[in-house]
């Protein structure tokens, strides 16, 4: 088990180098000259543009730029944005916010999704099940920015239950509405996954055996049906955690959450290589670590899945 974890963690090293190299190359290949853009529509004088290019090493060939960046990382210097702020500071300011938003969203979608999916599966074909299917279909088919704008308008502007956008320091209470919006689509998928998984398990031999043994219905559902139905759901939630951290750009824009998606978007627009690469690299690492955690969780849910040393 320990060896397995170690081996997986070792895999992080090539992933890290591959990801940074690839992303650095992509930023490098982006059309447009970030230095020319700094001058707005008037443009900079050639001599000034050359000096700025030299300051950000943009006059060097790609591979040299990459190694300068790598060298910086190992001395704890991730570079600075055009506004002069160290990238490490930007990372420290934005990741906790997005992490909070994502955790809230994952809690909401897991609890609501699994509960509703379970009830739906147990009452297959009844009114509750039908309504749950319709609602989840609706959520899946509506683009997230529509859900975002509509809920912001209704709850933030009309009913005034919450602030329309996220305020100072992104407090938990301001993040609730964005988290619901962010969770909406995944919630719909979790309902459907849980439902079909539960239905499948209902017909398994071990469920029939457990019922025949005279176990209470609650215990049958909890231990024999739900637990066995969780494997695909946990896989989905785990990957979703990574996706939400990376893909909250739209929601963060609508609710003005000062998080990762928003900052990354601006950095891409401005062509700030060091910021983009550092952000994406941290995202990749989070994604990989989460995948490892999910794999380990399988073992807990289903003892048949064991990891060789």
């Amino acid at each position: 088990m320990v060896w397995y974890i170690l081996r997986r963690l070792l895999q992080l090293i090539p992933v890290f180098f591959g990801a940074t190299l690839l992303i650095y190359f992509m930023v490098f290949a982006l059309p447009g000259d970030p230095i020319a853009a700094l001058g707005g529509d008037r443009g900079l004088s050639p001599a000034l543009a050359d000096q700025l290019r030299a300051q950000y090493h943009l006059d060097q060939p790609f591979i040299v730029q990459y190694f300068i960046y790598l060298g910086g990382i190992f001395t704890g210097n991730l570079g600075t944005s055009f506004s002069g702020q160290p990238v490490s500071q930007i990372l420290a300011a934005t990741f906790p916010v997005t992490l909070r938003l994502t955790i809230l969203a994952v809690i909401i979608e897991s609890i609501a999704g699994i509960l509703i999916g379970l009830v739906s599966g147990l009452r297959k074909g009844k009114l509750f099940d039908a309504s749950a299917l319709v609602v989840s279909l609706l959520l899946i088919s509506i683009p997230i920015f529509v859900i975002g704008f509509v809920s912001q308008f209704i709850f933030g502007i009309q009913l005034k239950w919450v602030n329309p956008t996220v305020g100072d320091g992104a407090p938990w209470k301001d993040l609730i509405l964005p988290a619901f919006v962010l969770a909406s689509i995944s919630f719909a998928y979790i309902v459907r996954l849980t439902r079909s998984s539960v239905i499948e398990n209902l017909n398994e031999d071990y469920v029939r055996t457990a019922t025949a043994k005279g176990l209470g219905r609650r215990r049958v559902i909890r231990v024999h049906i739900l637990r066995n139905s969780m494997i695909p759901v946990v896989t989905y939630i785990g990957t979703d955690f990574g996706t939400l951290i990376v893909g909250a750009t739209v929601t963060e824009g609508i609710f003005n959450v000062p998080g990762v998606g928003r900052t990354l978007y601006q950095a891409i627009i401005r062509g700030e290589g060091p910021t983009v690469v550092s952000f994406v690299t941290v995202m990749v690492i989070i994604y990989v670590v989460f995948n490892l955690l999910i794999d380990l969780l399988y073992g807990l849910l289903d003892p048949r899945i064991r990891y060789a040393k």
Binding site: S45, Q51, S83, T94, G167, E252, I269
Partner: protein
Amino acid sequence: MKLNRIGVAFAGLGIATALVLTGCSTSGSTTPSATASANATAIITANGSEPANPLIPTNTNETGGGKITDNIFAGLVYYKADGSSANDVADSITTTDAQNYTIKIKSGLKFTNDEPVTSSSFVDAWQYGALLSNKQLNSYFFESIEGFSYDKDSPLTGLKVVDDTTFTVKLKDKEADFPLRLGYTAFMPLPASAFKDMKAFGAAPIGNGPYMLPDAASWEHNVKISLVTNPDYDGPRKPKNGGLTIIFFATEDAAYAEAQGGTLDVLDSVPSAQLANYQTDFPDSFVNQPAAIFQSFTIPANAAHFTGAEGKLRRAAISEAINRDQITKVVFQSTRTPATDFTSPVIDGYSKSLEGSDVLKFNADDAKAKWAEADAISPWTGKFQIAYNADGGHQPWVDAVTNSIKNTLGIDSSGAPYPTFAQFRTVITDRTIKTAFRTGWQADYPALYNFLGPLYGTGAGSNDGDYTSAEFDGLLKQGQAQTDVSKANEFFQQAQELLFKDLPAIPLWYSNVTGVFNKDVSGVQFGWNSVPIYYEMTKA
């Protein structure tokens, strides 16, 4: 003031989007509220964006940072809502020849770190900003001062400190509007402590303006910046409120929602999706006024059929064939104002009744008559096209304009799209373009000359149509040699009357700034540069 890059994509290329507005023309820009008692300690909240560069005045060339530096620094002059300028730190700016200026500043002023504001505070800051190796984005603002060089480190020899409150400026050439520039961010003074560590200064600037940044922590990057009033500032821009918090929004839509929710006091750009409803959402508290952005299309000076006497007739006929009122209303939902000159209504010296400006009014009969007259000289052949970049949202108005020309003159007319702005600019700069093409200009500082010299002066940097007129150049030169701005403006107006005859570019309209504010805020006015004048605002 340059727009930020997103701003360039929208406004620079002229999309129907939001910039801010000045003056107080349409409804509701100033709502005197008799009932609301102003609270001198209330904090005004406004929208903004994270500064793209450190907050060093000579390095702040986009609106996100400019909004902040303009409020924490006080320059020699400041701009009023109507685009005119008045002394702030300056006591007097005098010249006898429009080339050598003597500037006296008020004594006893200080920065918020208690350093005195002296003539060296200005001279040192300008020297720093102009030096190539300091890599300041606004360095071009110093180009007209003697000693400036784009290509090498070269001190501004034209700047001389006389005593603590006096310094002199020698320009390379006569420039009557030099004093008008001095309210721009690039010309702000810096305390001596700034030069010791400019990097630290850019993160926590120390100014002498109406507001101040109490500490570096009050600038929460990507979130907001909280400014408080500067107790030592006693100039003409003394705040009527207790502070200014600029919240950085990722999208205009989020800012609009916040204004609707009531927690954002003033928003200076209405997102395009809300242009249809902002006047009903904020019935008594919206702004929609022309800004210092002029839009036109240029017909190259050597285009076939557009030279000589025939050309003058055809240019006038095309101008009169465009129904600007209808197009601004239908295509732009009234967020453009039909042009009446070559500058902008928010600039001091603007006049809407210049001789010859009738050519900008829709007049189908006269247009047909002039076109027929030109046909008598040399019959029209071919197609009249207006080139534009397809990535900037220009197609609707180009189609409307060419349709208007087609229907009025009965000639074949259409748009000629280029896929990207870069390709579009390339054919213009290498002069391979043979059709008319869209052009636009946003002022760097509020002066008539800034709309004329760079665009139509012989050989000027942005004279894309290669217009050349010795008479026009002469009038500009005479204007620049005046020592009195209003006298200079008379020459610039005459120069415009000449442009109405030659029509090197066909004026179309001014971009508007659209904004909304909350009911409990009063005294809302927008400056010439489309930014609200925060220090005048009060909150109940």
